[in-house]
Symmetry: C2
Subunit: 231 residues, 2 copies
């Protein structure tokens, strides 16, 4: 049965730029589950009422609503235990929680000021007003000011990735020889900016860039073929 995924979209419905939705999208592909994605905009919170909150990703699986990328990953692992594991065992699942927090609290904040104005440019009109107001309050500056000087600041972002880089110098994926959910957690951080910005986040010689290429190739090029700027 096909699972429904509410997926954050820009003015163009096929421009998908949520790091959290990308985690879920890749996790569903990893499990080999059919999915129908529904483009969702920031201001369509009422559509998600049954999920108990107002953010994506939200999936509907056989009538059951599940929200939050981490909760969804655990749900899929438990609901579909006979399909390829997302975590590679109990230890991987437990430690993936740490990795999830690391990406959410260290990587994402370092990333947002590099492309936040580029997000705004790709939103539809209603979302533009909501996004500018809410994000400018959060950032304490205009979107233009927040993104200014990114050519100089990108070095800091690359520095933040050092533990990821050192790991990917030793093995092809965070999951080892093959990707697991931690790869999709990290992948989300690169797939969403790619969807809305042509800003070059990584040096092509960076092992993280080589890993990103491997991610883009997964599942028949699922992420590579998404509407995006050249990686």
């Amino acid at each position: 049965m096909t699972i429904t995924l509410y997926d954050l979209a820009g003015a163009e419905p096929d421009r998908r730029f949520s790091p959290y939705c990308w985690r879920t999208r890749m996790a569903l592909a990893h499990k080999g589950l059919d999915v129908e994605t529904i483009p969702w905009r920031f201001t369509e919170k009422e559509i998600l009422t049954q999920s108990g909150q107002g953010r994506v990703p939200v999936i509907i699986d056989g009538g059951k609503w599940v929200a939050d990328s981490w909760v969804i990953a655990e749900y899929l692992e438990d609901r579909y235990p006979d399909r390829p594991s997302l975590f590679g065992g109990a230890g991987g699942r437990a430690l993936a929680r740490f990795f999830n927090v690391w990406v959410d609290t260290i990587v994402q904040p370092a990333l947002i000021r590099l492309v936040v104005l580029d997000i705004w440019k790709h939103l539809d009109k209603r979302d533009q007003a909501y996004f500018r107001k809410s994000r400018e309050e959060r950032l304490g500056s205009t979107l233009e000011q927040a993104q200014a000087g990114r050519e100089e600041r990108v070095a800091q972002f690359r520095q933040v990735l050092q533990p990821l880089r050192a790991t990917l110098e030793a093995q092809p994926f965070l999951g080892g020889e093959h990707p697991l959910y931690p790869d999709y957690i990290a992948a989300g951080a690169f797939l969403w900016p790619r969807a809305i910005s042509d800003f070059k986040l990584l040096d092509p010689a960076d092992p993280v860039a080589a890993w990103r290429q491997r991610i883009l190739n997964l599942f028949g090029g699922l992420a590579r073929d998404a509407k995006a700027y050249a990686a």
Copy 2:
């Protein structure tokens, strides 16, 4: 058969203060393997010749020398597969490499300047000269200068622990309900300063402090009973 572990020691042979040796010590206990520890000092590099390098931990298991805490952990997991797993599956093992890098490159550097002079105070005379020279070159200042102002700087260290803290708010161990090798990686970062310093690294109300108490209780109080200052 008893495994031999060369374990970094201070002037007092039972004062053990290497984060990497603590990882190995706890991993051996997790596997339920008997160990004889041999106190080792920085300047005794020639003793380790057969290991191919000059640092601890080094273990000797049935005549086989194995060096480097990460290599030792993988060795123990493969050599003793029927004993409790250190990683909880292939996914846990792969992601533990990331966690190992994170602790080595983010946590340890934030920690060293809080207690580096306290280390020196506990070394024997020969090691004191070696340690002061090598560490002052690395730090670019005297040991006294490096440690100065730690009461103000400890807040930064606690901030660095945020991803660990958030994880331990959600589950009792990095391994989930029970400790796994990532817990011992992180534990090393708290067991070594405890051995040579009474400086209070953690607020007692910190979830990381509660986890450290759980670590101290493992294996019949193995770490708690080591020669150390009150945690």
